[in-house]
């Protein structure tokens, strides 16, 4: 089993009301020095079988058509190394 991570972020030119709300809250809570916050979504997909090119193409496809709204969002697909998975599990 391998893990593939799909990160979905609003495109840079698109307004991010959630990120703005977080950013406005920071100074109120005493956290200074953050000039901008943008909030996205992270999907962790556990893939059966090997993560080969075909599998990645499939995941790219599903991210493009389902996980992300590509009119307003960008996404990246990356394979998490086994070590990182183990690290995360600890």
């Amino acid at each position: 089993m391998a893990r593939v991570v799909v990160d979905v972020m609003l495109k840079p030119e698109i307004l991010d009301p959630q990120g703005q709300a977080v950013q406005r809250a920071l100074p109120r809570l005493g956290f200074d020095g953050i000039s901008d916050v943008r909030q996205g979504k992270r999907f962790e997909l556990e893939v059966d079988g090997p993560v080969d090119e075909a599998a990645l193409a499939r995941i790219h496809d599903l991210a493009e058509s389902f996980l992300a709204n590509t009119v307003i969002e960008d996404f990246t697909v990356k394979v998490e190394e086994a070590a990182e998975v183990a690290e995360a599990a600890k």
């Binding site: 495109k11 840079p12 030119e13 698109i14 307004l15 009301p17 009119v71 307003i72």
Partner: protein, 752 residues
Amino acid sequence: MSRTPLDTVEHAAATPDVELPWAELGLKKDEYERIVEILGRRPTGAELAMYSVMWSEHCSYKSSKVHLRQFGEKAPQSDAMLVGIGENAGVVDVGQGYAVTFKVESHNHPSYVEPYQGAATGVGGIVRDIIAMGARPVAVVDPLRFGAADHPDTKRVLPGVVAGIGGYGNCLGLPNIGGEVVFDACYQGNPLVNAGAIGVMRHEDIHLAKASGAGNKVILYGARTGGDGIGGASILASETFDDAKPSKRPAVQVGDPFQEKLLIECTLEAFREKLVVGIQDLGAAGLSCATSELASNGSGGMRVTLDDVPLRDSTLSPEEILMSESQERMCAVVEPEKVDRFLEICDKWDVIATVIGEVTDGDRLEIYWHGGKIVDVDPRTVAHEGPVYERPYARPDWQDALQADDANALPRPATSEELKDQVLKLVASPNQASKKWITSQYDHFVQGNTVLAQPEDSGMIRVDEETGLGVAIATDGNGRYAKLDPYTGAQLALAEAYRNVATTGARPLAVSDCLNFGSPEDPAVMWQFAEAVRGLADGCLQLGTPVTGGNVSLYNQTGEAAIHPTPVVAVLGVIDDVARRTPVAFQEEGQLLYLLGDTREEFGGSAWSQVVHDHLGGLPPQVDLERERLLAEILISASRDGMIDSAHDLSDGGLVQAVVESALLGGVGARLVVPDGLDAFTFLLSESAGRAIVAVPRSEEVRFNDMCGARGLPATRIGVVDGDAVEVQGEFSLSLAELREAHEGTIPALLA
């Protein structure tokens, strides 16, 4: 588009041969040449950006203007009209010192690209038009049209649009009280997402969009400016999609309803303290539109420093800042000594506000960037004196054949059993079926002043808690009728909305419209448009209801195929006491059902012809606006004097559709008798205009009949409210359970 060195006015004058991307920005060659002629030199990049968005079809009404003039020329005398066409929204006197502003706009193209955000920002835009007039928004309505109900793309577009409208409106705390949902294959690829809003204010609070008084400050407040929707106005709304290369597709705007709510409160507080000289919301064409319109409506010029505009993205070029359609922004003109207080109020509401310029005593709009003058124009040439086209129009050659294909000649049900099946099929068809699944996603009752909401004939809002004064609004349109005859079709839309307002007991006062058509470059479409506008203007004159404003959406077509011409008409009415309203639902067994008006054999464009025969041809129902006016008077008097307990207007689907709706909503059935001189089929399914059904308590029957008789309105007793079925004597009986399953099951089955 950013160039080095900075493309200032001087630079432009010194480099006349620089090629500018005017074609990419949607300008035609002769339009570009006209700009050069106006300026006496080539425009700077920033000037070109402004002209291109402001001269787009969406902002300049260049194809429609010559026709829209009729709304002014044929405007009926009306004491109710306080502010007319040309402002952000019209304002109507509703009595007791209150004024109401309302308007309908389209957000069709953005809603197809990104249904949720497109529809949501449509609501946001129309609400800002209302607050720019100084009114507090009290309700929204949404007339929607989609492709075939069972088409897969409808399942993509509709839920997004509905969620977007619901999400934005609910966050703002505005009840959604009306509108329509229509399906037709012609809207595949071109859904119509129209949004209307109503606002209430005291007479003394009306505000107009103008910048007067040299030295007054121009304040931009609301959200920061980002790269969203750049060129949206010029490219997205003004060309058909297949012209647009993917790279040309601009970024969609994303709305933030919570920011808009702050904007409402902040703006109204500034109005209350009389801090504002002029105000304009930023919609299509953003700052280009706001600065040029404010300046050209005022007495003087304006100087703006673009560096002071708060940005979300510091890499934006001045052209992009001018064209950006970032949502939730407004522009106010404030006297210098009041600026501090204005900024204080903005700060209180957590709204970013920045002085970006001032009104000058010249007559030029000058915009500076990094110290250089990048715009120096006469604002009138940008905002009001854009190109005007007398586009050729011609009655299409297929119109005669279409009208000759008479729907009255279609095979009719031969037996009672067949009639029953067709009725059941009709009330279950997507267009006639209950839209509860959709409308229940909107909040109807927030704010606690909603008196009526869909599926009532009109939405109604209480304006004054003490006196019960209220306003009603109905929106209607029927693209099928308008396709058969655009002149009559537009009048039928007007007549239906007028009737719907009167059916609930309110007196119709004024009209707003949203005219959705195909490409004006097609003479056939232009003819449809010209005919519809003429019909609407003539109709408004006859009914005494002036058009207070509206919106035109052209280029609703994919390739050669235009949508049905779809004029959507909103009628606003007033009711002295909302306690006297008339609901659609049957109230009590034993009450007598009367049919008001004349029924003729009229099946052209009817729901029956669509559902049973998939047919569109013949002529739409005749219009008799004097009859509509009489019917309205009777309905209003009957409601005021307590002579009727429920009423429903007859329109698409005919009498049986109305009876089924009233029965299902009231939970009580009806026994109907086919009147003398009519056959059951015509009685149940004809769509003759100028008709309504009313339920009269037995104690009021004589009085009601006397009133109709005295005023000359045909009133035919057709049955009684009774039982748990809709029974047509001698024909068939359908139980309420069976009807409910058919009527309410369709939409969830298709879309849920």
